[in-house]
């Protein structure tokens, strides 16, 4: 059975919630093991194009693990094993013909802690386009850098200090720099692993606004511990619990009318 047909034979869940929007990524029965320990127990999720999917759940429930499966970042962890199917535009990303490096250029990632490279602001943004040969000349590269910084809402703050080290920015600016860096390679999907957990409320508000704007051009998956944040930025929400995905639905639906008892318990703050 080919990957294409496999996806199309199971369209029920997606069809029920949002028939019009195509699925950018699909996960089917994804299981992840770290050595003998099973971290994910068969996850099924559809990630719709140009929408924000929030992954919520208590610590250690497997949200980050699942996120890292989506661009094969788990490959860099030793004795981590992934089973099941994850498809990007209908193509199995763990398939034989797929190079993890090329995949990550299409599915970018922003991390929990801002991790700018020990380079100038300019070189931080230009890093991706340079290694992928996306800009041929100096001017083209300048343009990519400016555009990325503008889209990340950072251009006005740093345009006069592009040559200064990226590590000299404030925490919130660093995180927007990392988002700009991810945008610069024009990915199709951006994964964000608790992007605001190390930031103050003002910087967080900036990033949330930014996420909402980015939705126009990118598909976004965000892991967050902050349920207000999930409610604010996402259209879809998936609730994870102990390695299972309990439910995945429209954000409004999850927060106002959760079907599962555990979801209700978590969002009302009874545990987790």
């Amino acid at each position: 059975m080919s990957v294409q047909t496999q996806i199309h034979t199971k369209p029920q869940a997606a069809a029920r919630t949002a028939p019009a929007v195509p699925n950018k990524m699909v996960a089917r029965d994804v299981k992840v093991f770290y050595g003998a320990k099973q971290a994910l127990k068969g996850i099924n999720v559809e990630i719709q194009e140009n929408k924000v999917l929030a992954l919520i759940g208590p610590s250690g429930c497997g949200k980050s693990t699942f996120l890292r499966c989506l661009n094969r970042m788990n490959d860099t962890i030793e004795n981590c094993r992934v089973e099941g199917l994850i498809a990007l535009d209908g193509e199995d990303i763990y398939g034989k013909g797929i190079d993890a490096v090329q995949l990550r250029a299409r599915v970018g990632m922003v991390f929990q802690k801002p991790n700018p490279f020990p380079k100038s602001i300019y070189d931080n943004i230009a890093y991706g386009p340079r290694i992928h040969g996306m800009a041929t000349g100096r001017e083209e590269l300048d343009e990519v850098v400016e555009k990325s910084l503008q889209r990340a809402g950072l251009w006005n703050e740093v345009k006069d200090r592009l040559r200064e080290p990226g590590t000299g920015l404030s925490g919130g600016q660093q995180q927007r720099l990392c988002i700009a860096r991810a945008i610069a390679v024009s990915p199709e999907v951006i994964l964000m692993d608790e992007p605001c957990s190390a930031l103050d409320p003002i910087a967080t508000a900036h990033i949330e606004e930014l996420i909402d704007e980015l939705r126009e051009n990118f598909t976004i998956v965000i892991v967050t511990h902050n349920m207000q944040q999930a409610a604010r930025v996402s259209q879809k929400t998936a609730f994870f619990h102990l390695g299972d995905m309990v439910e995945c639905d429209d954000t409004e639906e999850i927060f106002t009318n959760p079907r599962d008892e555990r979801t209700q318990g978590y969002i009302t703050g009874r545990y987790g």
Partner: protein, 460 residues
């Protein structure tokens, strides 16, 4: 004998002082330890310090001044005809008295006054030793009694003991600093003596090194020229060759160990590499002289080059192998210390492993790598044995790695080997070389530190 007894008494008193202080502290609050300001053992240490420290201080002062004082008393008791003389004969006289006092025969006929002085010296010594024992022991007992007297629940024993420990730590760190200052000063004074004979300009800018001084006016082949430039070019040449070998190999093996090798390989590879650092340099010297030099020469001959049997190249290559572990082991540590978040960030943008290493990991680890390389350079400049054995003693001014050259350290070693007169420029030139070498390595280290600091500000 008396000193041994004193040490034993002191040991006994400090140990019992500790016990006494502790039990007295416990007794002073009737066993309710919470009422004590400090834990009982601090009271114990407090009394022990009072018992031991003043006596030890006296002991140190006494032994430092004793010899000088006794000798002064002996000399002043000598008849005038012996004391009247220039300082050198006086020194000789003092040495004679000491030798006779210690029962060593001088091998000459000795003035009866000198023999009497030696007996006088011995008796004074005995008095001094006994009085040291008596005063030291009573001081220890008095200290013990005073310390014990001070014990009360409110005594801030911990703070006081810790202050003493603090002073002890400062003294320990001063030892290294004072030793360095002492070395520099001794180097400096001997070097100044040398520079009073040979002008510093001739020394620093001369291009001919031949430190043989003529003993007679008509002696042939003893020009006595002291130009250090050939020595420094030789040092630089060999160091450069060593670094050309060590830096790429060391850095690449560090990258392999930290980024590519799986942990199992790494656990046995790294210790093996570090064994290289444990091989004595003399053994490297054998290898360079007996294996590497003939090998380099035969290769050179087979491609039609004229290679001397002692070449800078063979010494430099072996020296490079010797310092590989410095570069690789230290670089491996700094590369490992680069946060995983940076690597993840790079992988997350679709960078390959090699792109990540070249453009993110290495730049982030650069300060540490520079420090490792600088350490290796100082090691290479200071290395003596390999060059002595494999590259010879000929001070050629050349940039050709196939020629024999010599280095500063090798020359220092040869200048000071064997019986030397310590007033000839030949011997003193070793101190001049040492001083210049010291200045060079010091400035190198300072430059390295500045480089490291500059990058650290930028990258952390």
């Amino acid at each position: 004998m008396q000193i041994t007894v004193l040490v034993l008494i002191l040991a006994l008193l400090t140990v019992s002082g500790f016990q006494m202080g502790r039990s007295r502290a416990v007794a002073s609050v009737g066993g309710r330890l919470v009422e004590l300001h400090s834990v009982p053992s601090y009271h114990g240490f407090y009394v022990a310090l009072w018992a031991g420290l003043p006596a030890l201080f006296l002991f140190a002062l006494w032994t430092a001044s004793e010899g000088w004082l006794i000798m002064r008393m002996v000399m002043s008791a000598l008849p005038d005809r012996l004391v009247a003389g220039d300082p050198q004969t006086l020194n000789l006289l003092k040495a004679d008295i000491l030798n006779i006092a210690h029962g060593i025969s001088t091998g000459r006929d000795v003035d009866p006054a000198v023999t009497a002085a030696a007996a006088h010296y011995n008796s004074l010594r005995a008095i001094s030793d006994w009085s040291l024992l008596a005063i030291g022991a009573s001081l220890a007992v008095a200290g013990l009694a005073y310390g014990r007297q001070c014990i009360s629940p409110d005594l801030r024993a911990r703070n006081r003991v810790e202050r003493v420990v603090n002073i002890g730590l400062v003294i320990c760190s001063m030892v290294a600093i004072l030793t360095t200052i002492g070395i520099v000063l001794s180097l400096l004074f001997e070097a100044l003596r040398f520079f009073s004979v040979v002008s510093p300009i001739d020394f620093l800018l001369g291009t001919h090194w031949s430190p043989q001084m003529a003993m007679r006016a008509d002696q042939v082949g003893s020009s006595g020229s002291f130009g250090v430039i050939p020595l420094f070019t030789g040092t630089l040449l060999i160091t450069a060759i060593a670094m050309i070998v060590a830096v790429p190999v060391g850095l690449m093996s560090a990258i392999y160990m930290s980024e590519y090798a799986n942990p199992n390989v790494r656990t046995w590879l790294k210790p093996i590499l570090e064994i290289l650092a444990g091989i004595p340099t003399v053994v490297y010297g054998f290898f360079a002289a007996l294996t590497m030099a003939p090998f380099v020469r035969s290769i050179g001959h087979s491609i039609g080059l004229d290679v001397s049997s002692e070449s800078a190249l063979s010494a430099g290559i072996v020296m490079g192998v010797m310092i590989i572990p410095f570069v690789s082991s230290l670089s491996d540590d700094v590369i490992n210390a680069v946060p995983q978040a940076l690597r993840d960030g790079s992988y997350g943008l679709g960078a390959t492993k090699s792109e990540t290493i070249r453009q993110v990991v290495i730049p982030a680890a650069l300060p540490g790598i520079v420090a490792a390389i600088m350490l290796a350079v100082s090691r290479a400049i200071g290395e003596t044995m390999i060059v002595t054995m494999a590259s010879g003693l000929t001070a050629n001014l050349t940039a050709n790695p196939l020629d024999a050259v010599t280095t500063v350290t090798t020359q220092i070693a040869t200048l000071l080997v064997g019986d030397q007169e310590f007033d000839s420029p030949k011997t003193l030139s070793a101190f001049g070389l040492g001083l210049v070498l010291f200045v060079v390595t010091l400035s190198l280290n300072m430059v390295a530190l500045r480089v490291v600091q500059k990058y650290r500000e930028k990258y952390d």
